[in-house]
Amino acid sequence: MKSGRHTGRRSARRSRVAALVASFLAIFTTAADAQPPRDGARPQRIVSMNLCTDELLMRIVDPSRIASITYLSQQAVNGPLGLDAVASKLKINHGLAEEVLMQEPDLILAGRFTSATAVSLLRKLGYNIVVFDPENTLDDMRANIRKLGEAVGSAARAEEIIADFDARLARLQAQIPPGEKPVFADIGVNNFIAGENTLYTHIVNASGYRTLGQALGFDGFRNVPLEEVLSTKPALISTATPWTNPPSMSTMALRHPALRAMVESTPQVFIPERYTTCGAPSVLGAVEILVGARKAAVAKRRK
């Protein structure tokens, strides 16, 4: 009770501070809006060299300001939720410095681990580059949306996107039935399973489930031996990863006869990879599927 009152007071103070900050921001934004739009000040030829910055960029700026996105965003398995029409009309790059230079960008967005040599070459040539770390939490995602919004000079639009995301997430979360979080087993390629402190686990937790990795108690991604997978009793299972097609050796583990009994006796869902690769609003696609599965399980038990 006591601690509840404390947080209550603290949050009241925080909201007052937030209001103050907001009014300050309002002064600045109205001041900026009062001036005629200076297109030179905001980047107008933005290149994104990373799948995850592709999605954030397409959501934040008008397509006319995008010089190119990665070819990955035009692929069906990777394309971000609801942006296929936008992505298909944009120019693409394959992370090569030469392609990017030809597009004469005034801002380049890149990921920490993608096209590192091209990025260091472009930086050496004096291009304006903003590098984004991969998102490990939904807060990382909000921070990256803000960072990108500032970089492209559309901070207000970024806040809108965050607010919209949070509202839609809250609407979905309100539907999660009460009770302890059941275990969701996403048996990825090579029995690659997400544990604590991964974006995947944060998405699953936000949807009212725990991951198999959390149940087994480890950090990061890990290849879990089949025996260990079999020793658990998940409430929901997803074995068909999008990588099942085209077939690869790594997905053969999923067809192991020992898994068959578990797969047959457990409800299954299919979460397209595009919903969980990036910390971006597309994750709502995964949340929706998982919340739906949770509701279905409860409804079935009532019957």
Partner: protein, 333 residues
């Protein structure tokens, strides 16, 4: 055995080929960006960008492909001559894997994210450490010890690289290491060229200094010693030269296989089986082959760019098989 064409003619021909391929490499762009897009840009008032791309992207790329190819060809020829073993190449004695390991450690520890040049520097360091180790071991044993020690160092480096992949904190970091290991000269800058170029040249000088001893060694170790060849000096020259030049090359490009193995075999009959002449011929042949491979990588675009090391191995291995079969029929008929 008399070679089909004279040595000066062969060298002139190979030089011409290297020049031609280097020229092509300067004008051919990646298929996804438009193979001849630069000329279009020059014609339409965007000449500044076009020239900048030529100077800052294609020039370092072309120069590195040529120099690294030359290094691999020359080191392969020197090692095959010195060890009198047709299977020798810089990979077998552990130099390229050690350089790769150094670079992978730079990637794995995140050092290269802080300081991009840490990657090639660590690679060079790895190759030099490997050379020191081999020198220390080989002082006591002979050629066989050297080869076996090299194989052991190779396996150890490969195991440590797998360990780095195994323990890699996230799938993105692992993918970065894996792609680097496949080898490429794409998007390297002038900085890479300035770093690796002089070291490669220094390595070549050391290898070239061993040329005469290699000729004598083709008669066997004892005969060579009788002719006044200092075996340990030759070994130092070949190993240090290989470590410095191939180490510097691998450190900026990643692992590029098969050039050091195949090119000397291909050119040996053309120089009348003379090891000293093979050095220069093989260097030019290696340069031409890697330039050609790097042009091919740009023309054949299947989604992401093919990695150079993948292509050289893909083309090199079947070709090597063909060489073996041809040699066998020659020997057996």
């Amino acid at each position: 055995m008399k070679p089909p064409l004279s040595y000066p003619l062969l060298i002139a021909g190979l030089t011409l080929l290297v020049g031609l391929l280097a020229f092509l490499s300067m004008i051919v762009g990646p298929a996804t960006a438009g193979t001849f897009e630069l000329f279009d840009m020059m014609a339409h008032g965007r000449a500044d960008t076009a020239w900048m791309i030529m100077r800052e992207v294609r020039l370092p790329r072309t120069a590195l492909a040529m120099l690294v190819g030359m290094t691999l060809g020359m080191a392969g020829a020197a090692l095959q001559g010195f060890l009198r073993n047709p299977l020798a190449d810089p990979g077998v004695i552990g130099v390229s894997p050690a350089a790769s390991l150094g670079a992978v450690l730079a990637l794995y520890t995140g050092l290269s994210a802080q300081l991009p040049l840490a990657l090639p520097l660590m690679g060079i360091l790895g190759a030099l450490l490997c050379a020191l180790l081999l020198q220390g071991l080989a002082r006591r044993g002979g050629v066989l010890t050297l080869v076996l020690a090299g194989v052991a160092v190779s396996s150890l480096c490969a195991a440590l690289m797998s360990l780095a992949l195994n323990l890699s904190p996230n799938p993105y970091a692992a993918a970065e290491i894996m792609f680097w290991l496949m080898g490429s000269v794409t998007d390297r800058s002038i900085d890479h060229l300035v770093l690796a170029g002089p070291l490669m040249a220094l390595g070549w000088l050391l290898l070239a200094a061993s040329a005469r001893s290699l000729d004598a060694l083709s008669l066997g170790e004892e005969a060579a010693a009788g002719l006044g060849v200092n075996l340990s000096r030759t070994r130092t020259l070949v190993i240090t030269g290989t470590a410095i030049s191939v180490g510097a090359g691998t450190a900026v490009t990643g692992g590029i296989g098969f050039i050091g193995l195949v090119v000397p075999h291909l050119l040996r009959p053309l120089v009348g089986h003379t090891p000293s002449r093979l050095l220069l011929a093989s260097a030019l042949g290696g340069g031409a082959l890697l330039l050609a491979a790097d042009i091919l990588v740009r023309v054949v675009m299947l989604g992401p760019e093919l990695k150079l090391g993948v292509l050289t191995a893909l083309v090199g291995a079947p070709f090597f098989l063909w060489l073996i079969f041809r040699a066998r029929t020659e020997l057996e008929s």
